[in-house]
Amino acid sequence: MEEDFLANWTTQARKGLLELCVLAALRGGRRYGYDIVKRLSGVGGLVIGEGTIYPILSRFKKDGLVDAALAESPDGPARKYYQLTPRGRGLLGKMLASWAEVRAGVDHITATGDES
């Protein structure tokens, strides 16, 4: 019972954060899909199935938050690179600000407990 609750809670918490992290991974410039997946997989507990990232990228592309383009690769076949659009960059800024606010609040609550 407790394990089920924890698993469900973790999944819900992770889903929203994963979308934030996908956009944040592109903040430094264009990256190809595999690179994004591997970068985020390195964050403990964030990515359960690596395939999860691709539908998020597809949805972001359709929503106009990222652009995708094939580019020649020196290592082999052409790779599909993703990069933030101005709209995606703007939304990322707002998401990061919102996340910082939530995290600060959560940190405060969890650190001090119910002292009021």
Binding site: G49, G51, S58
Partner: protein
């Protein structure tokens, strides 16, 4: 061992497993309105390619299974707060289904990505051509060009065509490619028939000349010609006349009818060998053109195969020439 279009060299079992996994990806995401399942399948294929870059070639099933396990089951990929469309009971309603399809088609046609728009346009033009019957000849080239553009657009974007898009894009392309393929096969058949007919015509005329240009008893005219005689009729009327073709046919075994069939088959073998040499060597020199012209049949066509066929046919044509020379020599024609 197979090589996928994206360049992953997989064992046959691994290729089947990957295809099944990608089908599962498309099936799971098909009902999700804001993602492109074909694009995601292409991304997954690229991901697998990267993961297996260091694996021994061809990559085996166990290597692939490890990669797929890390990717996770596609059912768990559904975006947050947006699930797949709920499954409808079978035959729940044809109208809602058609309405949804119509909306999807309109959306793809006017606002969708270029490759989907071209797919719907290509199929629409083709369907209009089929429905208007005699005008198919007018609509088919247009739908063919649109379909080829749709296939090229998907390829440029690294999208492996899913079943739905294949059904939209392939009918006009397959029809034209099939016609071209039949034409390639028909050329030697037609050439053989033409050579045989020309030989029979020349033989008939020579027989008539050797017989002293006789006038057919059926015609009352002062201008005799070979055309007045039926071939069998002239032969029966002048059995003593021996033409060059008679001497050539005499080299073949059996009665006269069997000899003619054998001689025709021999000519056909020579024509096919010559045509096979031309087609094989051209296909070997321009494999890309073969893949482009005969889409979707020869997607994995390689020039080396065609060169082998061309060289084998060239060898066969050489042997055929040797036999032909011997037959003509034995018949006293050469």
């Amino acid at each position: 061992m197979t090589a996928s279009p994206a360049g992953i060299e997989l064992s046959a079992a691994a290729e089947v497993r990957l295809a099944a996994y990608l089908d599962q990806v498309r099936a799971v995401l098909a009902g999700v309105p804001d993602v492109a399942p074909d694009e995601i399948a292409a991304d997954i294929r690229e991901h697998v390619e990267h993961e297996l870059a260091g694996a021994p070639r061809p990559a085996g099933l166990s290597d692939l299974e490890a990669v797929l396990a890390r990717l996770g089951p596609p059912a768990g990929w559904l975006p947050s707060s947006r699930g797949a469309a709920p499954a409808r009971p079978a035959f729940a309603g044809v109208r809602p289904f058609l309405r949804d399809r119509w909306r999807a088609a309109k959306e793809a046609l006017w606002r969708g990505p270029e490759d989907w728009r071209l797919a719907y346009l290509a199929f629409g033009v083709f369907a209009v051509g089929v429905l208007t019957g005699p005008f198919l000849g007018l609509f088919l080239p247009v739908s063919y060009v649109l379909a080829r553009a749709g296939i090229a657009a998907a390829r440029e974007q690294g999208i492996e065509l899913g079943m739905a898009r294949k059904w939209l894009l392939y009918p006009p392309v397959a029809l034209v490619s099939t016609a071209l393929l039949l034409a390639v096969v028909a050329v030697p058949v037609g050439a053989t028939a033409a050579v045989v007919a020309a030989a029979q015509d020349a033989d008939h005329h020579q027989r008539w000349e050797l017989a002293g240009r006789p006038m057919s008893p059926r015609y009352r005219t002062s201008y005799p010609s070979a055309g007045m005689w039926g071939r069998g009729e002239l032969r029966a009327e002048h059995p003593d006349v021996t033409t060059a073709l008679d001497r050539v046919l005499g080299v073949f075994p059996g009665n006269p009818d069997v000899r003619e069939v054998l001689a025709g088959a021999f000519v056909g073998a020579g024509v096919f060998a010559l045509w096979g040499t031309i087609v094989g060597l051209l296909g070997g020199a321009f494999p890309g053109a073969v893949r482009a012209v005969f889409v979707p049949y020869f997607g994995r066509f390689e020039g080396a195969w065609a060169r082998r066929v061309g060289v084998a046919c060239l060898l066969g044509a050489g042997i055929w020439c040797g036999f032909a020379y011997r037959i003509l020599t034995d018949a006293g024609v050469v």
